[in-house]
Amino acid sequence: MLVDLLPIAILGGVLGLDVVSFPQAMISRPIVAATLSGALIGQPLSGVLIGAALELIALETLPFGASRYPEWGSASVVGGAIFASHPDHPAGAMTVSVVAALATTWVGGWTMVKLRQLNAVWAGKNRVALEAGARGSVVSLQLKGMTADLARGLLLTAVAYAILAPLSNMLMMLWSVDARVSRCVVVTAAASVAGGAAWKLFHSTSGARWFFIGGLAVGAFVLFVK
């Protein structure tokens, strides 16, 4: 586990940076982040599996302006790494990995708020220079913010993985519910959040409900034909 910690933390840092600071190319979305994390462990398929479950939940939390939202980049790396560390997918592996990711995303959202407050403190300290149009202050403030964000993601991932990976192993050893039922519970929770999110996003779009029903018919048909 310790051997994995450094590369996972670096990946978490880079993907945490993508959430807001640089470059917002959405490599921090769970479907990407968890897959990359799984690939780092040597299990990309496990990564995409948990990434899909997390992506369903993440559909609800889009990065609107100054709103406070959970940080999915580092969290998906943690969840993906924990799940991919158990390639035979024992009962409870998906449940504890998703909960580990959700707990990390919560703390990650809080750290982002703190970082934004810190950026404001740094800007306040540079107010005179900024009002004088000092090039160095504008550039250094930007670089400092990004460096701090990278460090935030890296530290968050390292601490979360170091705490949650052994805890998850312990919980999996005590797990008593059937593996298939456990997955059904996770996927029901995740898809319910996605369904609710979709309604919130598209219910005011004219005709969207017919497109949704049409899509649902196609999806259900393909599912039962497969």
């Binding site: 990407v32 990309p44 609107f64 302006g65 959700l102 004088a132 504008v138 609710g196 779009t205 039962f224």
Partner: protein
């Protein structure tokens, strides 16, 4: 000035990717706008040591709010205005007026449209059996065609129109795009949810019907409770309770 030198344009574009690097609750995107405009302001008469440069950089680093991708429109337009020597009062009025539209249009087009659509379409690919490379590759390529395209379009449009850029915001993609993408995303939601949950559960159909029914009820619950608790928090508590039950029974 009619043309922005290519080196300056590349430098501004690279900085646009980091426009939110110093985002904070006081000046929001302000410092990022100054940071992105700085390569263009170097072209002012007298360069980086001139009073014009310092005054312009100070002006441009003040409070600003916009969608991060569409902020490129503002950066292009402000670069043009500063280099054309527009009066400072006019530039400040323009900055104030631009904040609202660039925020709301971008939120609807990207955060509430393009991002969920690409996410759901990649989940549908996952659901029909796509491998990690296909799923991630589809998501990143499709999303970033829109992402980079919007930033490049914004910078060019802003530069070409200068302070008259408001008319360009009437572009059909920005006006009708959110509606059209919303419909496509609704279609993708319908396709993706059953397929994705089918794949996560695994082979066999024993549980699918029950899960689909539970998802319908769960979605209703998430919508009903939306003002009290967010869905992700609700699922965290429910799954944590499930873990507790599973390990202590």
């Amino acid at each position: 000035m009619t043309e922005l030198p290519i080196g300056t344009r590349i430098s501004i574009f690279a900085r646009l990717l980091a426009i939110q690097g110093a985002w904070n609750y006081e000046t929001l995107l302000g410092n990022g706008i100054g940071f992105c405009l700085e390569p263009a302001l170097r072209l002012l008469p007298g360069g980086v040591h001139s009073p014009q440069f310092h005054q312009a950089l100070a002006r441009e680093s003040r409070y600003f709010n916009a969608h991060p991708y569409l902020a490129s429109v503002a950066v292009g337009a402000l670069a043009r205005a500063e280099l054309d020597g527009e009066p400072p009062e006019r530039i400040e009025r323009f900055r104030t007026a631009l904040c609202g539209p660039l925020g709301s249009v971008g939120d609807r087009l990207v955060w509430a449209g393009w991002l969920p659509f690409c996410s759901l379409a990649s989940l549908a690919i996952f659901g029909i059996g796509g491998g990690p490379l296909a799923v991630v590759g589809f998501f990143l390529i499709s999303y970033n065609i829109g992402h980079f395209g919007l930033r490049i379009w914004g910078l060019n449009t802003g530069w070409n129109h200068g302070l008259r850029v408001a008319s360009a915001l009437g572009n059909p993609v920005l006006r009708r795009g959110p509606q059209e993408i919303g419909r496509l995303a609704a279609l993708a939601t319908g396709i993706a949810i059953p397929l994705a949950l089918g794949r996560v559960i695994g082979p066999g159909r024993g549980y699918i019907g029950t899960v689909l029914l539970a998802v319908a009820v769960g979605s209703l619950l998430v919508v009903r409770l939306q003002r009290r608790i967010e869905g992700w928090r609700l699922s965290l508590w429910l799954l944590a309770a499930f873990i507790l039950i599973s390990v202590i029974r």
